[in-house]
């Protein structure tokens, strides 16, 4: 297996979500805002779901930041992802961030430096408009992430 060494000093920001499910689109929105800043050493990737084979791509980077909408919890949370010690994989559609960290160590013998920025959404119904307060949280998230780089 050969990784792309050109990314080794970069940070990968992954915006996760479906922009057609209202506030679920906040992850891609934040990722777009960060890309628009034009910062060096940043690569942005937008996806609707993460699969186990995406791990190889993540391992090319110095650091990975996941940005995703949450159903509950803090309005805005930004923290390092700890290794999940138990399997939470009940289907291929559900792979937690902690599982990626675990698999990086056990399969690839590498440390995955991963952070999760979760932004609590209010409305996940079909639609392409995000709630004003969630958009506000998104701006705070962009600042938080950019300051952490």
């Amino acid at each position: 297996m050969s990784l792309n060494e050109g990314n080794i000093n970069k940070t990968l920001v992954i915006g996760i979500g479906n922009p057609l499910r209202s506030d679920d689109g906040i992850g891609p929105y934040v990722a777009d805002c960060i890309e628009a800043q034009g910062l060096s050493g940043i690569k942005v990737w937008i996806t609707q779901q993460l699969n186990v084979e995406d791990l190889e791509r993540m391992l090319e980077y110095k650091r990975v930041i996941l940005v995703d909408a949450s159903l509950a919890g803090q309005p805005l949370d930004f923290r390092p992802v700890e290794k999940s010690t138990e399997g939470d994989l009940s289907s291929s559609h559900h792979l937690s961030a902690g599982t990626f960290v675990n698999l990086a160590g056990s399969i690839y013998k590498k440390n995955l430096n991963m952070h999760l920025c979760s932004i609590r959404g209010n409305n996940f119904e079909v639609g392409d408009k995000m709630s004003p307060e969630v958009l506000q949280r998104a701006q705070e998230a962009v600042k938080l992430i950019c300051n952490s780089l």
Binding site: Q48, E53, G87, S92, N102, Y108
Partner: protein, 481 residues
């Protein structure tokens, strides 16, 4: 897993794990503690067919891949074929070649996921091992090389999609008349570079399952082993065909009931009946009627139905598979895993052939047409079995009716029978151990069902389950969501 025993001697397994989607199983015990009945319930409902009505038929090849993140290519291919029937056109040679290639890529990634990630934990770690680790994390800890190989095999399948269409999941680019874009020489070479590793990994998987069969022959042969009819797609000489061919039904003894059926005539042979305890209907072979006409689709069915394979390595394994029951159909549900691996091997060999065809990089990828007929039917073999898309339009090309007949739906009667068979074998009384319940789940996992596809479902919807005793009185209510 949140398992419980209810007041009326019903054991509930919910949710069923390591499948695509959400479901539950109920096991009804009699007064003597023996299993009286068992059912596989699908709780999701999406109504995809309904909300497509009113759309232009040409939108369907880009809408329907959204049904599923595992088999979007099969949906797009079947949809494009239905559109081509409406337009009265055929794809170009290269358009067909590229569609075949992307379809094979999906077969590889889906089968790799099913075997290496979802089912191998039972085989490698054991049925009764710690359920918290009986998954990809447990495999990564105990067999990291196998876990890595499984991940990379899936990645190869996904990379075919990505290099052809720019997307790994929910692909775009399969269009009526062929493909929207051509394969570049650079991408052709990059994909060919995967073949040796993919073949080696698949052969390791085949070796693993065959050793498991040898070491657990009694269990494998008795695991949900029951006769059914089988349906699959074959080429003109009865060879396994996944992308484009005619339908063949065989009976439980392997006798061909009907061969070379045009997919557009599927309703002459397949009927469905709704059941009151699941959103999945019960399809059946129409000439035999409901009950007698239950059939199976998917890898086990396809290899039971096929007369031969198209590629040499897969043909060698196919002959071994055929020898298991003396040339007659293999009914043991556990053999889904072996047949899935043989299909993966066949898919890798066929992908190599296609990639070595000089015309695969031709720019002649699409023919064009317009609305000519008001009905279109397309089919293909999705990883889980035969898939049909059936559209009716008005004179402006707007859809007036959509029928999607999905593989998992067609396996629904057999999945229920499998659950019952395995429950009878392993569940004895209320105090069933987790490992026994895992075996019941595993009967379902053999079919690798995709509930998102079969019910056209999205996530898990809130659900109320009422449990009634023999008098019809509700004795327990379970709520979810």
């Amino acid at each position: 897993m949140d398992n419980q025993i209810n007041k009326d001697n019903t054991i509930l397994i919910s949710p069923v794990t390591r499948i695509e989607g959400h479901a539950k199983i109920t096991i009804d015990l009699g007064d003597d503690g023996k299993v009286k009945d068992a059912r596989f319930h699908v709780n999701e409902f999406r109504g995809f067919e309904k909300f497509c009505e009113g759309r232009l038929f040409t939108e369907m090849p880009t809408i329907t891949p959204r049904i599923c993140g595992i088999c979007p290519v099969s949906h797009s291919v079947s949809s494009a074929k239905a559109c081509e029937m409406i337009m009265g056109i055929k794809p170009t040679y290269t358009g067909n070649l590229l569609r075949r290639l992307i379809h094979l890529g999906q077969m590889i990634s889906s089968h790799a996921l099913s075997f290496f990630h979802l089912s191998s934990p039972d085989l490698i770690l054991g049925w009764d091992s710690d359920p918290a680790l009986r998954n990809i994390i447990g495999i990564a800890q105990t067999s990291p090389d196998l876990a890595l190989r499984g991940i990379r095999l899936r990645k190869f399948g996904q990379e075919i999609s990505e290099r052809l269409t720019g997307k790994k999941i929910h692909i775009m680019g399969i269009v009526p008349g062929g493909m929207a874009s051509a394969l570049t020489e650079e991408n052709r070479k990059a994909l060919l570079g995967w073949i040796a590793e993919a073949t080696e990994t698949t052969l390791i998987g085949i070796d693993l399952i065959k050793k498991y069969h040898d070491q657990n022959k009694e269990m494998v042969d008795s695991f949900a082993n029951f006769p059914t009819l089988y349906l699959g797609t074959v080429g003109p000489e009865g060879e396994l065909e996944l992308y484009d061919g005619k339908l063949r039904f065989i009976d439980e003894d392997g006798k061909i009931l009907k061969d070379q059926i045009e997919p557009k005539n599927y309703l002459d042979y397949i009927a469905e009946r709704p059941i009151d305890w699941s959103y999945l209907k019960y399809p059946y072979y129409k000439p035999y009627g409901y009950g007698k006409g239950f059939y199976r689709v998917g890898p086990l069915a396809r290899l039971n139905v096929a007369s031969k394979m198209k590629t040499p390595k897969a043909q060698k394994e196919f002959l071994h598979f055929k020898s298991i029951n003396g040339g007659k159909p293999v009914h043991g549900t556990f053999y889904f895993h072996y047949t899935r691996l043989i299909e993966m091997l066949s898919s890798i060999e066929e992908a190599e052939r296609i990639l070595k065809d000089p015309k695969v990089v031709s720019q002649d990828v699409q023919t064009h047409g317009s609305h000519n007929y008001n009905e279109g039917i397309g089919s293909s073999e999705a990883p889980r079995g035969t898939l049909f898309h059936h559209y009716n339009t008005d004179d402006s090309g707007k859809l007036t009716r959509v029928n999607l007949l999905i593989a998992t739906g067609q396996n629904n009667p057999a999945m229920n029978r499998s659950v019952l068979e395995v429950a009878r074998q392993y569940v004895h009384g209320k105090d069933a151990k987790e490992g026994a319940l895992n075996r019941v789940e595993a009967a379902i996992r053999c079919y690798d069902p995709c509930l998102s596809c079969s019910t056209h479902a999205i996530g898990s919807m809130p659900m109320v389950i009422e449990i009634k005793d023999h008098t019809g009185e509700i004795v327990n209510v379970l709520k979810r969501g």
